[in-house]
């Protein structure tokens, strides 16, 4: 069944505002493109800040109130900027950089804050389509003065080093003295979710430097790494009908501030426009100077252009990524929320960073990178923006040395990627955690969760298959495939049964550690070996020069390739043809069968409610494990095997990970169980967007967002790739009239439409 057609010629751009700054509140009309937070709920502020983070893959600035509150956690996160605290065994951690959009406004000495006086009107609107965060606020001070404020902010997708903040202020019922202070300051304490993050210390000015220090700038150095973050800012405050007001600039180590004091007239509007440039030691030798130089080319007078270019950049990305759901506004909004944050999470121009588990929206997870990228997020980029996918895979290529070293240190060959990695690719997984029940829990993922190497190989192959990017395959992808295959061939051991066994691992189900012959790990390893052999054959046939070079450099002998073939053929899978089931790991079927639903609770994870030890001795699983395997290697399994394994493992899954519901939705949809698919889809959609769990307080869940997109596209849409190109086998939930999404495949753009697929099917004789 086909449901695709080649993409139309580039459509006319919609009309954009020609005003210097779009009129406040002019957000995309369709509610399915907006998140709106009406009023102010202090208890939810951390979540709102995460959800409303403006991000462009280089920098993310949390959606904090400019003036702050009793529960604000303002911060900016810059990709690739790590520090290290001065503690033994301290791991690299991404620093929390200053939020450069802080403002304080005082009217006749009374500071405008939501916890003082009365907010007559307050709302924040996140325009997902255009990547704009709006704030509309009308406030009455204790003295009775009413001020209207509208604020717009963006992290430019067109120029990733630029942030824009535009504020319009209007005294509604008074004339009087207003003071506005805008500042950028080194954080006094760690960002939320502390264990504290590495500190940032002011970079002292060069005593010999007598140069002009306009525009104002601030440079901070991360402890333990020396990485430098620098901001420069150009600001302008002017009334609608008059000349600008000059600021007083205050600088001291760790802080730069601009202060405007003026007498405002009743009914007049005053506009503050700030353009902030951000540079780091990763992209400039002298970041502060580079940031200042960046502003030589742009400033507040260019605000309209900055907005237009930013909006246009978002339009381009949405043209290639928007998933349209006809018939379910809630699902529509959740998918756009997911796609928005995925688009804003990655920088296609930076091959030395990847995406952390909470994107650039929060400090939890310390900026560390997991297999979440390759399995959960990369498909989105592969099919909507291949350059981003390529950059993310190149990160894995650039961190191959660290992966080789990890394997070597553990006595194996090839490449074993770190379970948690940072900029260097070294293993950064903590070794233990003190849980709130007082138990010191050892963390073994860094030692045993080896399936990440196969995940990287899987992503490489999916990218190659989808793009035909020869340059990538030759320069990077083949080497990743070969080295990860080499790892698997060294990792296991031959048993007396003549099978190849991989022991002492953790599969995706992390409730069970130190298991043998994880079906997921073994089959993905088998697949990895097969693809490496396929790649070797391809290179040998089509690019023999490159193959010889790799052979020589990696020391690959023909016997080794034959050994890989033997290992793959003999891999122990745990499959029982009588039942059609894969045993999740050796001995799984002997465990106690506990129904997670008895312990299912919105009030805690299953392993805590059941107890860690009992969970370990039970069949309760943390997340999609064999079910994930069914999806990833779908065509290797006959329909009855997929059905049997899903029906067996799905009821035993406690979904203790946010990575789980979306995969269950996808597989359920493919199997035609629409009620179950929809239940899991909604569960996945609510992980960040529900308002009663606080899940998003530490940042939005990147893998869940990527999984949600996959559930829609590969699950409900039934997207498959054949020799003839992409096709749909849709299984839409009740109420979904149609599903439409763009896909890129081998250099072509396709518009997939389940409605057309249905029409095509109806038209077939």
């Amino acid at each position: 069944m086909r449901g695709s057609r080649p993409a139309p010629a580039t459509p006319e751009l919609e009309a954009t505002s020609r005003t210097p700054v779009p009129a406040a509140g002019a957000s995309s009309a369709d509610a399915a493109w907006r998140l709106v937070e009406e009023g102010f709920d202090l208890a939810r502020e951390h979540e709102i800040e995460s959800l409303f983070t403006i991000s462009n893959g280089y920098i993310g600035v949390r959606g904090s109130l400019a003036e702050g509150s009793a529960f604000s956690a303002p911060a900016a996160f810059i990709a690739g900027i790590f520090g290290r605290r001065p503690a033994p065994d301290a791991m690299p951690e991404r620093v929390a950089a200053p939020d450069p959009l802080r403002l304080r406004i005082a009217v006749e000495g009374e500071e405008l804050r939501l916890d003082r006086g009365k907010a007559l009107e307050h709302r924040r609107v996140f325009d997902l389509k255009r990547g704009l965060l709006w704030r509309e606020w009308r406030h009455r001070t204790p003295a009775g003065r009413v001020t209207r404020i509208r604020e717009l902010r963006l992290a430019s997708l067109a120029d990733r080093h630029l942030l824009l903040q535009a504020l319009e202020l209007e005294p509604v019922n008074y004339s009087g003295r207003i003071e506005v202070v805008a500042w950028i300051e080194r954080p006094e304490s760690a960002a939320p979710h502390a264990s504290p993050l590495p500190a940032l210390r002011p970079v002292p000015p060069d005593p010999a430097d007598e140069g002009d220090h306009t525009p104002p700038r601030l440079a901070l150095r991360a402890e333990g790494s020396g990485a430098v973050v620098a901001y420069a800012v150009k600001s302008e405050l002017r009334p609608a009908d008059g000349p600008g007001v000059a600021p007083e600039v205050e600088t001291r180590p760790g802080r730069v501030a601009e202060r405007w004091t003026f007498t405002a007239r009743l009914g007049s509007r005053y506009r503050l426009t700030r353009v902030v440039a951000v540079r780091t030691s990763r992209d400039a030798e002298e970041p502060a100077e580079a940031a200042a130089a960046h502003l030589a080319r742009t400033g507040p007078g260019d605000a309209g252009r900055i907005v237009r270019e930013h909006v246009e950049a978002w339009r381009e990305r949405w043209r290639a990524a928007d998933v349209e759901v006809d018939g379910d506004p809630s699902a529509q909004r959740a998918l756009r929320f997911a796609c928005h944050h995925l688009i804003g999470a990655a920088n296609p121009d930076d091959e030395r960073v990847s995406i952390s588990a909470r994107l650039l929206t929060g400090g939890i997870y310390k900026g560390h990178v997991f297999w979440d990228v390759e399995i959960y997020m990369l498909p989105f980029y592969i099919h909507t923006h291949p350059p981003t996918a390529r950059a993310l895979l190149m990160y894995r290529y650039h961190t191959l040395p660290a992966a080789r070293e990890k394997a070597r240190a553990l006595g194996w060959r090839g490449a074993l990627y770190a379970w948690e990695s940072t900029d260097t690719g070294e293993e950064a997984t903590p070794r233990a955690v003190l849980a709130p029940d007082g138990v010191l829990v050892p963390i073994r993922n860094g030692e045993q969760e080896d399936h990440i190497s196969a995940a990287v190989a899987y992503a490489v192959w999916q990218y190659w298959r989808a793009t035909g990017d020869v340059r990538f395959l030759l320069d990077a992808g083949a080497e990743i495939l070969l080295e990860t295959a080499r790892f698997w061939a060294s990792r296991g051991e031959w048993g007396e049964d003549g099978r190849y066994h991989i022991r002492h691992v953790i599969g995706p189900d992390e409730y069970h550690e130190d298991v043998d012959d994880s079906a997921y790990t073994n089959l993905m390893a088998q697949w990895n070996l097969e693809r490496a052999l396929e790649a070797a054959g391809l290179l040998r046939e089509r690019w023999p020069g490159r193959w010889r070079e790799l052979e020589r450099r990696l020391g690959i002998e023909p016997e080794e390739l034959r050994a890989w073939d033997d290992v793959a053929a003999a891999m122990y899978t745990g499959f029982d043809p009588r039942t059609g089931l894969f045993e999740q790991f050796r001995g799984y079927h002997d465990l106690e069968d506990v129904d997670p639903a008895e312990y299912a609770s919105g009030a805690g994870p299953a392993d805590i409610l059941l107890g860690r030890e009992r969970t370990r001795r039970s069949k309760v699983i943390k997340q999609a494990d064999v079910v994930l395997l069914l999806y990833l290697l779908w065509d290797r399994f006959p329909p009855e095997v997929r059905e049997a394994n899903f029906r067996y493992y799905e009821p035993r899954c406690a979904h203790g990970s946010s990575l789980s519901p979306s995969i269950h939705a996808l597989v359920a949809a493919r199997l035609g169980d629409m009620a179950l698919a929809m239940r899991y889809f909604r569960q996945a959609a609510e992980i960040d967007l529900a308002n009663n769990m606080g899940n998003a307080a530490g940042g939005v869940h990147a893998a869940a967002l990527g999984g949600l997109w996959q559930a829609a596209v590969f699950g409900f849409g039934g997207l498959r790739f054949t020799d003839g190109g992409p096709e749909l086998e849709p299984r839409l939930p009740p109420g979904w009239r149609a599903l439409r999404f763009p896909i890129q495949w081998r250099g072509q753009n396709y518009c997939m439409d389940t409605d057309e697929a249905r029409k095509g099917e109806e038209a077939e004789p």
Partner: protein, 282 residues
């Protein structure tokens, strides 16, 4: 929580006197006046009343002795209502025939009718002196409960007591629906990151929404199981001197089960603080 008056109802029985050391220490801590109250059918002369209560004039230094007529619970509530910022400290029961863990009818009626905090004391603790070093603060993660937690913070500031916040994950219990709630993490993708983050977020929410002070030492502990049972267990294991419970005003069997169990089984006094009913979520 402002306390200017501490009211101790005495019915003339020895068990009832168990509330006096707790009330006295509490009044000393907050600088409140201690009121000993007797509600009876017919008023008595003060000397006779003192004797009947087992007290001497010398022991009355710093106390106020009052009596009211009528039904005991109503008399207690009316009296408390006449005072500024009262707190009632009352024994759970005084009838000798009642087993340990009972809640007497007068105590129950006072709990239901009071608009001020009520401290419940088990008569089994006798006249043992009481000092506040450790406060146990069960918390269900809802903003409504946080808003009622000021008393614990205030007392901790005054006494330097440690505050142990305990969150109980109860199997089968649904997540709270009140917007802004913060229950145990539903998803623990990587515990090495999620647990420290959850604990920090929980405490910082409490501090920001409830008692925003950096002077109080707060520790968070999670338990799993029946909430009442776990609160009692933790209070015993950590030698708490006071359990502070937010109470949303319902005495119906299912709704008040945790509170009743804690009152009955805790080894230390229990302070009940009225909390607003949780807002309903979407």
């Amino acid at each position: 929580m402002k306390i200017e008056s501490v009211v101790v109802p005495l019915d003339g029985t020895l068990p009832a006197l168990a509330a006096v050391p707790v009330a006295n220490a509490l009044a000393d801590t907050v600088g409140a006046t201690l009121h000993l109250l007797h509600v009876c059918e017919r008023p008595r002369r003060q000397a006779a009343l003192l004797r009947s209560l087992g007290l001497s004039p010398e022991e009355m230094e710093g106390f106020v002795l009052d009596q009211r007529t009528g039904r005991p619970a109503q008399g207690i509530l009316r009296y408390a209502g006449e005072l500024r910022h009262p707190t009632v400290v009352i024994c759970t029961h005084t009838g000798m025939e009642k087993p340990r863990g009972a809640i007497g009818s007068v105590a129950e009626e006072v709990i239901l009718g009071a608009h001020c905090p009520v401290v419940l004391v088990q008569p089994e603790r006798g006249l043992e002196p009481w000092a506040l070093r450790r406060i146990l603060l069960p918390h269900d993660g809802t903003p409504a409960t946080t808003a009622a937690m000021d008393p614990a913070g205030d007392l901790a500031e005054l006494t330097g007591a440690e505050v142990l916040v305990v969150y109980v994950a109860a199997p089968g219990e649904p997540a709270p629906t009140e917007p802004g709630s913060f229950a145990a993490p539903r998803y623990l993708d990587q515990p090495q990151h999620e647990w420290p983050a959850w604990a920090s977020e929980f405490i910082s929410r409490m501090s920001a929404l409830g008692h925003p002070t950096s002077e109080v030492q707060l520790t968070l502990l999670m338990a799993a199981g029946d909430p009442g049972e776990q609160i009692v267990r933790v209070s015993r294991e950590h030698e708490s001197d006071l359990v502070v419970l937010a109470w949303h005003g319902s005495w119906e069997p299912r709704r008040a089960a945790t509170m009743k169990r804690v009152i009955r089984e805790a080894h230390c006094p229990v302070l009940l603080v009225r909390a607003a009913r949780p807002r309903r979520g979407e």
